[in-house]
């Protein structure tokens, strides 16, 4: 009998169908890999199982009984636990205290700390997790912190564990340790669902695999029947669309921007590892990869928002000494930020005020102290017309525009400044279909005019459609670099999921 059965699960957020008629099941003592790219619907499906979301349709059966899971508390009572990507731990407390929170051992109103230490220690021993219950969580490395989350699940006597991208924060060694632990869980009869986009892990740890793509189940199969290429194609596979017209560009175009031996560390973890990239004029270089493999950091470094720990950025061959956003803007590097609301626009500013953001210092828009209001207004009106920005007037607050029009403001702003290089991060995220085409056309227009475009996108469709060259980023490294037309779905899928690495041999992993 299956320990969990999800039948016909549907869940939508507005116009987006996150899950469409999804079936999933898992038996005792089994590890199921829930495989798919960003936006495939994996996390949504598990949030439904864990009670964080209620499905629009479909049923859930636990141990043969139909259940309505309305909150994480219900889920926990049914024996389901979820280890999230972002840990829910209290740094100033010890491991044991964190583990027992919510189900504390008591002596009346008193917290039986001794028993907590003892029980957590015992659990840790029993499952070979080797976590010191007395340790303060803030002192633990990330791998250990994850184990604390796992201990939480064990303490609550969960038989069904959901792990969301568990190896995203682990070193290869820690990942191996984790799988050893999971194997033990399996042997003691627990059912484990792994949400992942990494093929290697799936092949390493899973018994069965369910592949999701764009909200639907592509296939469910036993691992022994699967092979990596097949999986990659199923995950990622779609027709390659070369439907956008572009100019034939001459060979030997100049390198306008490059980055060499770039390394960036955050909180001790390396987010970018020895990255080397060249962006040529008249070329769109697409950086393909699953979100979270270093793209955000790459964009931040190239636009001066973050400083590299090692390595340097070169513009027209000359190194940029101390990159700041202002300097990069001055050097004619345009930036379309991946997070429009936090970094791209100011909601309470008017359309015209947003259109000059980043460029207010230029002689066009300001004198020594004052802004040239008439020039700004004229520019704003002009740009709004040129880029088909639908708004009442240029003095309207930006928040009154739709997502697509807000993005057009960002695009219009960048393009009107005649940049030499453009870093476009997720340029069509959160944008309605009509505006997407428009934005794509503008990007190709820039390229045709000889600009260098670095396109970072988690939407593979977009990368395939627009890029002249494609580099794949995985785990902070560039694992491949080639002309776009030399790629196919399988190759891309394998690279994006860490299964292949064309930059160096696999041996040193």
């Amino acid at each position: 009998m299956n320990v969990v059965e999800m039948r016909g699960i549907c869940k939508s957020f507005g116009l987006v169908n996150a899950n469409v008629d999804v079936d999933l099941d898992i038996a005792k003592g089994e590890i199921l890999s829930l495989l798919g790219e960003n936006g495939a619907g994996k996390t949504t499906l598990m949030n439904v199982l864990y009670g964080l979301l209620e499905p629009d349709a479909g049923t859930i059966w636990i141990n043969g009984r139909q259940e309505r899971i309305l909150s994480p508390l219900t889920a926990t009572a049914l024996g389901i636990s979820m280890v999230h990507q972002h840990f829910m731990l209290v740094n100033t407390l010890t491991v044991a205290e964190n583990v027992v929170l919510g189900y504390e051992p008591r002596k009346g109103a008193f917290f039986d700390r001794a028993r907590a230490f003892e029980e957590v220690g015992r659990l840790s021993e029993e499952y070979g997790l080797r976590v010191d219950p007395h340790a303060e969580v803030s002192t633990l490395p990330v791998g250990m912190k994850q184990r604390v989350e796992i201990l939480k699940a064990l303490y609550r006597k969960s038989d069904i564990l959901i792990l969301d991208e568990p190896t995203a924060v682990l070193t290869p060694g820690e990942a191996d340790d984790l799988f050893e632990v999971l194997r033990q869980f399996k042997q003691s009869g627990k059912a484990i669902i792994l949400i992942t986009h990494k093929l290697k892990e799936t092949m390493q740890a899973a018994d069965r695999i369910t592949i999701l793509r764009q909200g639907r189940v592509v296939r469910t199969m036993p691992r022994v029947e699967a092979d990596v290429d097949q999986l990659a194609e199923m995950m990622v596979g779609r027709r390659i669309v070369f439907s956008i017209g572009r100019k034939e560009m001459p060979k030997g175009l100049p390198v306008l921007m490059s980055i060499r031996h770039a390394t960036l560390k955050r909180e001790g973890v390396a987010k970018l590892k020895d990255i080397n990239i060249d962006v040529h004029g008249g070329e769109i270089l697409g950086i393909a990869g699953v979100d979270g493999n270093g793209q955000t950091e790459l964009a931040e470094v190239l636009t001066g928002l973050q400083r590299l720990n090692e390595g340097a950025i070169y513009i027209n061959g000359a190194p940029v000494k101390a990159p700041t956003p202002a300097k990069m803007l001055e050097l004619k590097v345009g930036h379309i930020p991946e997070d429009r609301t936090t970094r791209g626009v100011i909601r309470n500013f008017s359309v015209s005020q947003n259109l000059i953001l980043g460029y207010q210092r230029s002689a066009r828009f300001s004198g020594r102290l004052q802004l040239k209001k008439r020039a700004v207004d004229a520019f704003a009106k002009n740009t709004a017309e040129k880029f088909d920005i639908r708004c009442g007037s240029i003095d309207d607050p930006l928040s009154s525009l739709s997502g697509g029009n807000q993005q057009k403001v960002v695009i219009g702003r960048v393009m009107s400044e005649d940049p030499r290089i453009v870093i476009a991060a997720q340029p069509t995220r959160g944008v309605d279909i009509g505006a997407v085409e428009y934005i794509h056309e503008r990007i190709v227009e820039l390229r045709d005019a000889g600009k260098a475009i670095l396109l970072i996108s988690a939407d593979l469709d977009e990368v395939i459609k627009l890029a002249d060259r494609i580099s794949v980023i995985y785990d902070g490294r560039i694992v491949s670099d080639d002309e776009a037309k030399n790629y196919d779905e399988r190759r891309l899928g394998a690279l994006m999921t860490g299964q292949a690495d064309e930059s160096r041999r696999e041996a040193d992993r």
Partner: protein
């Protein structure tokens, strides 16, 4: 003619609605009503009270002079908080900055001898501005260093400065005699009164100049644009190449300087020296004024006149009725609490618009 009228009406309606002045006016009216109720419940006659307030504030030219004279340092305080807030820094330290400006001006005014007025007065202003401005910058640096909200830092700093100023007066700048104060300022540093023997002095022109200055900064300068960007969305401002920390520091230098000017004007125009409690409470008034004024310098002036009127009227109310003048404190407190009510309204408005927009955008 009618067309002109309709256009003017539309424009001012738009101005009022957009600038949030409506909220401030509504909050003030509500506060008046609730205060009246409290008066009634405490056994006082609100009509008597409010008429005493009004006549104390506007009943005679002398009273009007008092009102405007009291409003002068308040304008500075309100402007100070306003520019800080624009850059995203809530400057509760106005009180301390006012005080230090008052002392600095009194000292510069008393101890620098032999200067002609047209040099001495601006010099005193400049010294006061620098002292206040540096305190403002200090607050910013402390916040950046300690990564703690400026609300706690500036409150603590206020107390420290208050006591420091006391020590400076009693140890270094004490005037011989019974009263604890600094020596009289030179005649060359005094601000001439506009109405004889009243609080109203030429300092009010400086305050209005300050208003115009801020208005110009906000509406016309690149700096004004940049600090507003920082205040509204720090990260977007950073992405747009704005040196966020520097801008906030400059804004707070101006903010602290303006507050200090408020104190300076009191030393040079009203008392002629520094004495304890001379500007007590003006800083907190400034906060209320800036909130009521809604980030608009002209709104600050209007609110300052209202508060000047309240203060002038309250001493009259104290004298001529048995209603304690502290009612204006109650009024003020209610305004602050009611002004938080727009935050309430915005809270609900935000909740509604957020649920609408999350549906149409990709998850």
């Amino acid at each position: 003619m009618k067309d002109l009228f309709t256009r003017a009406w539309k424009k001012s309606k738009g101005f009022i609605l957009q600038s949030g002045a409506l909220f401030s006016i509504a909050a003030f009216v509500f506060s008046l009503i609730v205060s009246a109720a409290i008066m009634l419940l405490s056994g006082f006659d609100p009509l008597q009270g409010y008429s005493a307030l009004l006549s104390g504030a506007f009943g005679s030219w002398d009273n009007v002079a008092t009102t405007l004279g009291t409003a002068t340092p308040l304008i500075f305080a309100g402007l100070s908080v306003s520019i800080g807030k624009r850059a995203g820094f809530f400057n509760i330290g106005v009180e301390g900055q006012l005080l230090s400006g008052a002392l600095a001006a009194a000292v510069a005014g008393a101890y620098l001898k032999g200067l002609p007025a047209f040099i001495h007065i601006p010099l005193c202003f400049a010294i006061a501005w620098i002292v206040g401005g540096l305190i403002g910058v200090l607050s910013v640096k402390l916040k950046q260093f300690m990564k703690v909200s400026e609300l706690i830092i500036t409150v603590m700093l206020n107390y420290v400065i208050t006591y420091l100023v006391d020590i400076l007066v009693s140890e270094f700048f004490l005037n011989p005699g019974y009263v604890v104060r600094t020596p009289d300022i030179q005649a060359s540093a005094a601000l001439a009164p506009l109405v004889p023997l009243s609080r109203l002095n030429t300092g009010i022109f400086v305050a209005l100049a300050g208003t115009v200055l801020l208005y110009w900064i906000y509406r016309r300068t690149r700096f004004g644009y940049e600090i507003l960007a920082v205040g509204l969305n720090r990260r977007a401002a950073e992405t747009g190449g704005i040196a966020v920390n520097t801008k906030v520091s400059i804004a707070m230098f101006i903010s602290g300087g303006l507050a200090a000017m408020g104190g300076a004007v009191e030393s040079m125009g009203v008392h002629g020296y520094y004495i304890a409690n001379m500007v007590s409470g003006y800083g907190y008034d400034g906060l209320t004024i800036a909130i009521m004024g809604g980030g608009n310098p002209i709104g600050c002036v209007m609110a300052s006149v209202i508060f000047g009127a309240l203060r002038a009227g309250s001493s009259n109310m104290n004298r001529t009725t048995n209603i304690p003048g502290e009612f204006i404190t109650i009024l003020q407190a209610l305004v602050i609490l009611f002004v938080s009510a727009p935050l309430l309204i915005r809270y609900f408005k935000d909740k509604l618009t957020r649920t609408k927009s999350s549906g149409s955008e990709a998850a």
